[in-house]
């Protein structure tokens, strides 16, 4: 049988082809609606398993703030609480992210050396908090570190080792004391051109506090919030036990050094193992020494802060890492409004004394010292 083009069927075919082409192109138009800008919003709000009548569990895993987040709630309103929490994270991301051009932080950075920028109460509060921690830690924690992060390539993941002159050029821009805050007008000003803020060291802690506040407004018994490794918990689990939070082993990040039994706390860890690059055999970590403009050379591999305040936990975990073991312990002794776990470069673990009954090592052969 041969297929020949006959005149009648050609006309029918012509109509059919035009119809097909139209269909395909309208499919293109409709598919364009799927292009949603970076709200990578696959909120796989997965299991809602219920055992007893009021015991439901809901979980949401999603990407936000450049990291992977997981929120779990137990209780009657678990699903609603988790949804509200996720929405809160997206809202905060829009305000705080340096990478989103429309965020308030980006606007402040764009106006450096020019004009003060009016911001929302929330953004103002978080910057004010950051400044107060800069003051308490004598600048070990400094949100104006952004220009230094840029020249080392940590902002866009194009890692490089800058020259000494490049570092000297941006170092004057790193100075938390130059930030001008006006509480009545709610403005933030960076007076020198080229200054920039990066809230990466405090945003997750702040967000986890906010998310907790949102979730506590729902009828749930307990919740676990993990924002990229910043863990916050409240309430007790279904069987009445406390939450078990492990601390990553900085020398072997797929394993952990110990477990903390706690609730109503945030556990926030900073360590060089999280983000670094290796060039010519030398490892450069993402935690910068604000005084030198280079990755900090600390005798600590990681610092975990256990406190009820996420902002405190986030900023102090960075600050104490920069300070090194002795100054970190001294800082704790001077304040004592938080608990901490330090892992040194020799693999020893130091923990503040109030964790004596709640923190235990996985490998009991490792050295663990509680300090007062």
């Amino acid at each position: 049988m041969t297929c020949r083009r006959s005149i009648v069927s050609a006309k029918v075919a012509a109509v059919k082809y035009r119809a097909c082409v139209l269909l395909v192109f309208s499919a293109f138009l409709l598919s364009g609606c799927r292009l949603i800008p970076n709200q990578s919003g696959s909120s796989a709000a997965a299991s809602s398993t219920g055992t007893a009548s009021s015991a439901a569990t809901a979980t949401a895993d999603f990407f936000a703030m450049d990291t992977y987040m997981s929120i779990t709630a137990n209780g009657t309103d678990a699903q609603a609480a988790v949804n509200a929490a996720q929405a809160e994270v997206y809202t905060l991301e829009n305000e705080l992210s340096r990478n989103l051009p429309a965020s308030e932080i980006s606007k402040i950075n764009a106006q450096s050396g020019l004009l003060p920028v009016t911001v929302s109460q929330e953004t103002f509060d978080i910057i004010a908090d950051a400044v107060s921690y800069s003051e308490k830690t004598n600048g070990a924690f400094d949100i104006t570190i952004a220009p230094v992060m840029d020249i080392w390539g940590f902002t866009d993941s194009k890692f490089r080792v800058p020259s000494a002159s490049e570092i000297q050029a941006v170092l004057p821009l790193v100075n938390w004391q130059k930030i001008i805050l006006d509480k009545t007008k709610l403005t933030v000003e960076l007076p020198v051109k080229g200054m920039a803020l990066d809230l990466g060291g405090i945003a997750k802690g702040y967000s986890s506090d906010k998310v907790q506040a949102v979730m506590r407004g729902y009828n749930i018994t307990s919740a676990l919030i993990s924002l990229g490794g910043n863990v916050a918990v409240f309430g007790t689990k279904a069987d009445g036990s406390l939450w078990k939070i492990a601390i990553t082993d900085p020398a072997a990040p797929d394993s952990y050094i110990g477990v903390l039994n706690a609730t109503d706390v945030s556990v926030i860890t900073s360590g060089g193992y999280e983000r670094n690059f290796i060039q010519n055999g030398i490892t450069y970590i993402h935690i910068m020494d604000p005084a030198l403009g280079t990755p900090v050379k600390s005798d600590l591999l990681s610092v975990s802060i256990v406190s009820a305040d996420g902002v405190q936990g986030d900023s102090l975990s960075t600050a104490l890492f920069v300070m090194g073991k002795d100054k970190a312990i001294a800082y704790w002794q001077a304040h004592k409004d938080f608990a901490c776990i330090l892992v040194t470069s020799t693999g020893e673990v130091f923990a503040s004394t109030e964790l004596r009954n709640t923190f235990s090592l996985m490998d009991t052969k490792r050295s663990l010292t509680f300090f007062n």
Partner: protein
Amino acid sequence: MKYSIYDMTRWSILTALALTLSVTEMLFFPSMLLPVPGMRLGLSNIVTLLALYLFGAFPTILIVCIRCLITFAFGGNLTSFLFSIAGGLLALLVMLLLRNFRKFSLFGVSVAGSAAHTVGQILIACLMTRTWATISYLPVLMLVSIVTGLVIAGLSIPVYKAVTAIHPGVEN
């Protein structure tokens, strides 16, 4: 050179068209939205199909190879280059065979081409992951390639008609 500048210019234009089509299709269907990696409409196969009928085997091979090379040169990685060239050449081979057996219409040729393209890519994938388990993608992708093959043929026909109407005898 037995091919004229005129011919080679037309082939270049088709190559550029093929590149444009593959970029455009990425805009509408960013590969991350699709459930299965590698699922694509394959609009640049319109060009391959047309070139086979308008210009013949050798120019089409050139167009496919150059298209893959340019995509690789402008920011592709080695794996995607290997995928596209393996799929593209296998598809070309199959379409060439079917074209020579004049009993197949454009639809058949195109479907066979899409299917061969998929098979080529899966084979490369198996080679790279060194496991036959990668074949698990084959059923879904084959069925999808039937649909896309038909669509591509449907889109090619008006173009072919338009080209030969404007330039009668261009196919010779």
